[in-house]
Symmetry: C2
Subunit: 355 residues, 2 copies
């Protein structure tokens, strides 16, 4: 037997093992009162409050969030689904998302898809499983298997799509993004205006719709200029630096190599510039490079990258506000996509062709 007088003053239970019952017992009140104390202390008499307070302190009690969420049917958690945690583009988007979530009393959970396109079913499962009150979808969706989601296009699933283009079935879902096609057209037009004709395009992933609007803008611009796009100039960069390096090498290997390369995102543009330089060519004198996104490395790379700016933070804020409006306002959320303004940022990586 342990001599009680040798026990430490405050015996704290290991957290998690102490429940509302223990607190109630020690404070000499009912569990209802403890619950009230936690959720709205004002509703508990001063004197009682003190006792409960003390019992909580003594036990080190902390409510079981799982039980709370389960009971309330609400987690106050938003799941943000994005392709990869290491992607600098999401710094801004997350910052916007976080600021409004925090302000409105929600916490964030981030889920990576690691560039695997998610089936909408997987996403639907997340909401249905109740682990979060809603989803911000920043990752690209598989073009297939969207039955669950589209079956609920009547807005049962609190989901808002940010940045990405999604398949037509999902066009009814609320979303916030720039006009990717128009932006890509502008960028291509700029290259055209510089005098380029031989403009290559490095797109994202074969199976993904993520950069298809950008590709379409590129094609539209070329078409308008009366230039037929050579299919060997449209290559896959897999949205990664590595992929773009490989793609660029292919492009530069062509007998009649392009004088300009338009990359569907900055990550690939960074790889592209590197590959051009390592081939012993100069940017922009020999090959112009244009990116897309305007990540923070765009302005410090050498030469500074000409690219399309996306208002990442604004997108994040708007996405989150729409999502929370929908969650809190019942199923009355606004549908369809909201277009935010992009901007072509002219820096040093594109110039007139030397030939």
């Amino acid at each position: 037997m342990v001599n009680p007088t040798t026990m430490p003053e405050q015996v704290r239970e290991p957290p998690g093992s102490v429940s509302i019952k223990d607190v109630a017992r020690i404070a000499g009140v009912s569990i209802a009162t403890v619950s009230r104390f936690i959720n709205d202390p004002e509703r508990v008499k001063e004197q009682t409050r003190t006792r409960v307070q003390a019992a909580i302190a003594q036990t080190g009690y902390s409510p079981n969030t799982l039980a709370q969420s389960f009971r309330r049917g609400k987690t106050h958690l938003i799941m943000v689904v994005l392709p990869s945690v290491g992607d600098p583009f999401f710094t801004g988007v997350m910052s916007g998302i976080r600021s409004v979530a925090g302000g409105r009393g929600y916490s964030l959970l981030i889920n990576e898809t690691q560039f695997n396109t998610m089936t909408a079913d997987e996403i639907g499962a997340m909401v249905v499983s109740r682990q979060a009150d809603g989803i911000v979808l920043l990752a690209s969706l598989s073009p297939f298997g969207n039955e669950v989601l589209s079956a609920h296009s009547h807005r049962t699933l609190p989901i808002v799509i940010g940045c990405e283009t999604v398949s037509p079935e999902l066009a009814n879902f609320p979303g916030v993004h720039i006009d990717n096609s128009a932006a890509a057209q502008e960028a291509t037009d700029y290259l055209l205006a510089l005098g380029h004709r031989k403009i290559a395009f490095i797109y994202g992933q074969q199976q993904s719709l993520l950069t298809s609007d950008r590709e379409q803008g590129y094609r539209a611009s070329m078409h308008k200029a009366g230039i037929s796009v050579r299919e060997s100039w449209v290559v896959e960069g897999k949205l990664t630096m590595e992929g773009a390096i490989a793609a660029t090498r292919i492009l530069l290997g062509h007998a009649d190599r392009p004088t300009a390369i338009f990359c569907a995102n900055d990550e690939m543009a960074l790889g592209c510039i590197y590959a051009v330089k390592s081939a012993g060519l100069r940017v922009p004198e020999d090959v112009s490079v244009v990116g897309f996104d305007d990540i923070r490395y765009a302005r410090i790379c050498d030469p500074a990258l000409t690219t399309v700016y996306q208002p990442a933070e604004e997108i994040g804020e708007k996405v989150m506000n729409r999502l929370l409006d929908e969650i809190e306002g019942g199923r009355s959320g606004s549908a369809g996509a909201e277009i935010v303004a992009h901007k072509l940022v002219v820096r040093k990586s594109a110039a007139p062709p030397s030939v």
Copy 2:
């Protein structure tokens, strides 16, 4: 009244509103049987199985994960706490974490601290609140307020610390990281061997322990070489590109400017190189720059960055394995830090001083 014959063939309930009871009723079995079907179909007779299966299909039932986790006292979720989602360094760590988590049946939840150092209390609250079965801590901790954690250094909280250095109270927690101090010494020694004497250091954040081991390694190396460190050469870069650009400008403004700058991470080294170049100086001819981490942009920046490689993926794998061992094996997890190997990667951003 709606004429029943005009109803669609399959009336699916909106997901989430259908519970195990509905399925049981429709299948004509008890909820226990439905539960068994979900968790271990083999234990249900073929014939019954078919009926339950059909009822699930008809209702679109999906178990309420919150209820399951609550009931089981286990979420099969691991919370990964990291500073910022847009940080390329975490690509590798997350990839390692994800591969072992997936293999062992756990899902990941990521939580950003946005460079705010967390109090350990906040972290403790996460585990205590039962939202996850354990925590991987990749973010830096506030040096203060670690009472909750250190109170449980007897290993009640399933937590493993990755990459970061933490305050001494937490030294007992399991962790996986490189020997930051030794690595920084090596990098500084390298600069010294190149002939530099005037070596500046850009550290992370004033309040954070994150880069203090690296700083200490730098100081130890300088000391060993008999060079006294000028305090004006040790400046704060806040772990960001912007911060490092500002820091570099200060450094270059000194009458007697350093011939080499050692940055406590690559993100800052990228900013540093940019700032040196924009000041009209050359890297490495006028100023050598060395980074730390070896993020994927290190080899493509211009000049290619000399830096310390951290085995990010390996760290992620080890951290996760230790965490899951601890979670699954009770409180018997191994304590203390495991040191993994770093490597100085010599590229082009450092050279002998020109003077």
